[in-house]
């Protein structure tokens, strides 16, 4: 494997890793929405 091939492989790994990290946005959004749902539920139960 040449230096250039190694650099390319490193570059592809980095792209795949960052693309994978982006998929964390979905559970993060769900967690944030869940917090809102809990607060709204408290409002509806205790302050409606």
């Amino acid at each position: 494997m040449t230096d250039s091939d190694a650099d390319d492989e490193k570059g592809w790994r980095s792209i795949r890793r960052d693309a994978r990290l982006e998929r964390r946005l979905l559970p993060q959004a769900v967690a944030a929405l869940a917090l809102v749902a809990v607060v709204v539920a408290i409002r509806e139960v205790f302050f409606a």
Binding site: W12, Q28, A32, L35, V36
Partner: protein, 498 residues
């Protein structure tokens, strides 16, 4: 049949007042929209078209009296995880009067063929002119395939340039910007607020803009252009505006090229530590935005082929920021007059407006804290208090009716009187507008002996957003009066963690 004019007039007034309050909810709707679009970046992103690509990059560093920071910035550029024979650094010294020329010349001697010192004997015309001096030199030779424009104080993470260039493998992409994070080693309350602002405004909002296909601004501290893109917009950064980076971003998109925000390319920057310094920096940005709003007046809300700047979603995002203080004033006005005319209706619209604001705040702040855990760890208090203690109280009041008016006083055997209830209602209705006054006051007292304690307390009370709104109002006034547009540089002293 007679027409009941008084009733029609009454209904007309009510509709106008409701529209005023609705205007106040537009920024909330815009924020909620952006944060709901944000998770789609998990799939709608540019990684599928990125590829390992390391073009010849000419880095242009504008420098005016940057002695304390420019040496460290050059050193970091020289140790980036990027093929060093494909990176050249051009420091454009804008007639500095400190030791900037000596520092850069020393680096030039140590790194022949990699660091270049370009001196402007007549300086002080602003950043765009300084950059153009460097760009004209770089474009005169065929070596550079990409041009990275940065600020003299920023520190690039070692892999950040390679993470940016990989998007230029797609020829449709004209420019790429990075995540500029607040990076001071000795943080204070203001830099922590700014850190949260950058998470919201970059990691969240620019990802949403990636999804929607229109970027509002390539950060001036880290914008990588393909050579073709810079040549297409005339081979120079537009001058004549205080927001040269935003105008460059717009021009690039109007020429049909795509802009990409790369959230994993980290660049650390030093940000203002006093309200006064922040005010001057942001006033420049806000005045630039006023100028651009006027300059591109035929662009807004007119969808065209080739770019998405005219889309309704982009227009909503742009104007909800640009007109945020107007929206807050209109909402407070509408609520107070409705309170006098129809208090029940006022209570209903207040609840709708602030419950939606509270839900958006909870969702966006909790999301933001997850986007950048490092910033979240050291600035979680500023994240929670980003809208200010006052707005926090208003949101609690809207979310949990009776809690603050009845339940909490009741714990101490107290009860609000009828007039006290009206005073309380009035206070929470006008809070959005009054908070901007509080932000202005925070700046006014900052320089006094008591200001060291009072200014932070006031800012925590009124919130960081109110400070930005107050600055935006100042920008309207300064532009209307055609005040002096001299470039006021933000002082940088080298506080960024390397």
């Amino acid at each position: 049949m007679s027409i009941d004019w008084p009733s029609i007039l009454d209904d007309g007034v009510i509709v106008v007042l409701l529209l005023c309050v609705a205007a106040g909810t537009l920024p909330v709707i815009s924020t909620a929209f952006q944060f709901l679009v944000l998770p789609f970046h998990a799939f709608v992103n540019h990684y599928g078209r990125a590829a390992p690509y390391t073009p010849n990059v000419a880095v242009i560093v504008p420098a005016w009296n940057e002695g304390p920071v420019v040496g460290a910035s050059i050193d970091r550029l020289l140790t980036l995880d990027y093929p060093q024979d494909r990176l050249r650094i051009y420091v454009v010294d804008d007639a500095s009067t400190d030791d900037t020329p000596e520092i850069v010349r020393a680096k030039e001697r140590e790194n022949p063929g990699r660091v270049f010192h370009l001196r402007r004997e007549q300086g002080g015309e602003g950043k765009a002119h300084t950059l153009n001096h460097g760009i004209s030199r770089v474009l005169a030779s065929s070596w550079a395939q990409a041009i990275l424009i940065m600020d003299a104080d920023v520190i690039f993470a070692r892999d950040s340039v390679a993470k940016m260039t990989r998007h230029l493998a797609d020829p449709r992409v004209g420019a790429v910007t990075a995540y500029i994070a607040e990076g001071s080693r000795d943080r204070n309350y203001l830099t922590r607020f700014i850190a949260i602002e950058y998470v919201l405004g970059q990691l969240a909002a620019r990802r949403a803009q990636n999804v929607l296909g229109a970027i509002a601004c390539l950060a001036g501290g880290a914008q990588l252009h393909s050579r073709e893109n810079l040549e297409a917009i005339g081979g120079r950064i537009p001058t004549g505006t205080l927001a040269e980076d935003t105008m460059t971003t717009f021009e690039s998109q109007l020429h049909g090229r795509r802009m990409v925000f790369e959230p994993h390319a980290l660049v650390l920057a030093e940000e203002p530590r006093t309200i006064d310094a922040l005010w001057k920096q942001r006033l420049r940005w806000a005045r630039g935005n006023v100028q651009l709003t006027r300059h591109y007046r035929r662009l807004w809300f007119r969808p065209r082929r080739g770019h998405r700047l005219g889309s309704v979603s982009f227009g909503l995002m742009w104007f909800s920021t640009f007109l945020l203080p107007v929206a807050m004033l209109l909402a407070s006005f509408g609520l107070v007059v409705l309170l006098v005319l129809h208090s029940d209706l006022a209570a209903t619209v207040f609840r709708i407006m602030w419950v939606s604001a509270a839900c958006t705040y909870l969702y966006s702040i909790f999301f933001a804290l997850q986007l950048d855990a490092r910033t979240g760890r050291h600035a979680w208090r500023e994240a929670l208090l980003f809208p200010g203690v006052g707005s926090f109280v208003v949101m609690v009041s809207a979310l949990f009716p009776g809690l603050l008016e009845n339940d909490v006083p009741g714990l101490f055997g107290l009860q609000l009187t009828a007039s006290g209830r009206i005073d309380w209602t009035l206070c929470i209705y006008v809070w959005g507008a009054a908070a901007m006054l509080g932000a202005w006051l925070a700046r006014a007292v900052e320089g006094t002996r008591a200001g060291r304690v009072l200014a932070p307390l006031l800012l925590y009370l009124v919130g960081y957003g109110s400070l930005l709104c107050a600055i935006t109002i100042d920008s309207y006034v300064k532009e209307w009066r055609k005040a002096d547009t001299a470039w006021i540089k933000t002082e940088k002293v080298g506080r960024v963690v390397g």
